[in-house]
Amino acid sequence: MIITSAKTFEEILGLLKDEDNIFVIGCNVCAAKLKTGGEPEVLEMCRRLEESGKHVVGWALPTAACSIRSFESLAEKNEKIKEARCILVMGCGSGVSAVASVVDLPIYGSNNTLSLGGSSGGKLLSNQCVMCGDCTISEYGGLCPKSQCPKALLNGPCGGSVDGMCEVNREMNCVWTLIYERLKRINRLDLLYVIHAPKEHGFK
């Protein structure tokens, strides 16, 4: 799941200050789960934009904003898109890009895209993966230090953690402490002695 957070309505209004006849596109996958672009949020956005003097020509909720077949497929959901002068996408950055690839109108995103995360036991998990394209997560018992350590350290913790908490955010567990505990539970502490080479960061 892509983790997003909604920009403030004031910031969105600022983005749209020279725009009118807006068409709003939500996303019924990640953004819907996170309540940043599902149907209730899209309807609320339309209402508030209208209240602020903007004309909303219509809205649509594709299954996934990041997976759009064509402009026609959007028009099939709501042909009012043909009257739009601009598009507001309530998804992640990938959703905005996918819609932009089929609609030749000014396009805006209502969210900030934070990380690739997930949820477990009802708890939201952020920064689970940075999509480095060179996966070695099994070497760490299934917890990725590249994504969960703010310094992306592959060979062990920095000297900054205090009582198992991260230097950058004392409310956050040092992922290396979590890796240690997990490897201990699965009887693979030997993995801690492996010297890991840096990742290959070529454009992928």
Binding site: P150, K151, A152, L153, L154, N155, G156, P157, C158, G159, G160, S161, V162, E167, V168, W176, T177, Y180, L192, Y193, I195, H196, A197, P198, H201
Partner: protein, 292 residues
């Protein structure tokens, strides 16, 4: 007669290294004057690399300024601000300018400093950075290309001193396996704990230079106990600071007692005062260390 830091490292001499900071700006006369007090006292001067992620003049430039004044610098280099191209490029430049000693570390996160929005690089970590230096030393770069003149660095690394911190001990072991020539540690206040640490790393057979930060107040001791990883200022020392009529003098007296103990346990002492080195020569003389 011993000439340079590497030779001293291989001797039996108890070493004294001290930490100096480049200026925040282009005016370098004041920090050079401060360093001047360390001549004949310190064997080498660690030059910090934007310590605490607070932007300063580069460690490389200030190391060269110190070198020109007849000091022996240990240029600190962190993984925070440069990718593998920048790191290698600076290392080649440093070597060409005469810098022979380096100390390699991860570096505090930018979020902790005065430019919290800057991009954290960490292309390599401190273990990989040691590997990189050893490649440059062998005359090839990190991508395997032959260099027109390689390096020959005396390269150290850093470590905490908590003997119970398995992860940290394993990381230290990796640094030594990658070829670290010496280790400089987090500040020691609890000599008993440091002794246990030394027992735990004895098999690594690497020279360990024990860190020391003279206390200036009780609140400083309490702050470090609470906020700095691996630092433990024992109750006994806190009481000495609490009852002291002059906390600065008491801090020096505690540091001097600690150095005396450390001469039996470590290869040297690394002094990191908060502020100037005004008291460093006196501290070493109190501890019975003659310097060079």
């Amino acid at each position: 007669m011993l000439f340079n830091f590497r030779e001293k490292l291989n001797s039996r001499k108890f070493l004294v290294t001290v930490e100096v900071s480049p200026p925040k700006g282009t005016m370098f006369s004041a920090p050079l004057e401060d360093a001047c007090q360390l001549k004949g006292v310190a064997d080498a001067l660690n030059v910090t690399d934007n310590q605490c992620s607070i932007m300063h003049m580069s460690s490389l430039a200030f190391s060269k300024l110190l070198l020109d004044q007849g000091h022996e610098p240990i240029m600190q280099l962190t993984c925070r601000d440069r990718n593998r191209i920048g790191l290698q490029s600076d290392l080649l430049g440093a070597y060409a300018l005469g810098i022979r000693n380096i100390c390699l570390m991860t570096g505090d996160h930018p979020a902790c400093g005065d430019h919290p929005g800057s991009k954290p690089v960490y292309d390599l970590d401190s273990v990989q950075l040691i590997e990189l230096v050893r490649k440059l030393d062998s005359g090839i770069d990190f991508a395997g290309k032959r260099l027109d003149g390689g390096t020959s660095f005396c390269a150290g690394a850093v470590s905490g001193i908590d003997p119970e911190n398995t992860l940290q001990l394993i990381k230290l072991e990796k640094k030594v396996r990658c070829g670290a020539d010496f280790i400089q540690t987090q500040a020691v206040y609890d000599v008993g704990m440091f002794e246990e640490f030394m027992e735990a790393v004895n098999h690594l057979e690497v020279p360990v230079i024990a860190g020391l930060i003279p206390l200036k107040s009780l609140s400083m001791a309490e702050y470090m106990n609470k906020n700095i990883s691996g630092i433990h200022v024992p109750e006994e020392i806190r009481l000495r600071m609490k009852d002291a009529s002059s906390p600065i003098e008491e801090g020096l007296s505690i540091a001097s007692d600690t150095i005396k103990e450390l001469t039996k346990l470590s290869r040297g002492v690394h002094i990191m005062p908060i502020g100037s080195h005004k008291n460093t020569p006196r501290l070493l003389s109190m501890a019975g260390i003659s310097g060079k």
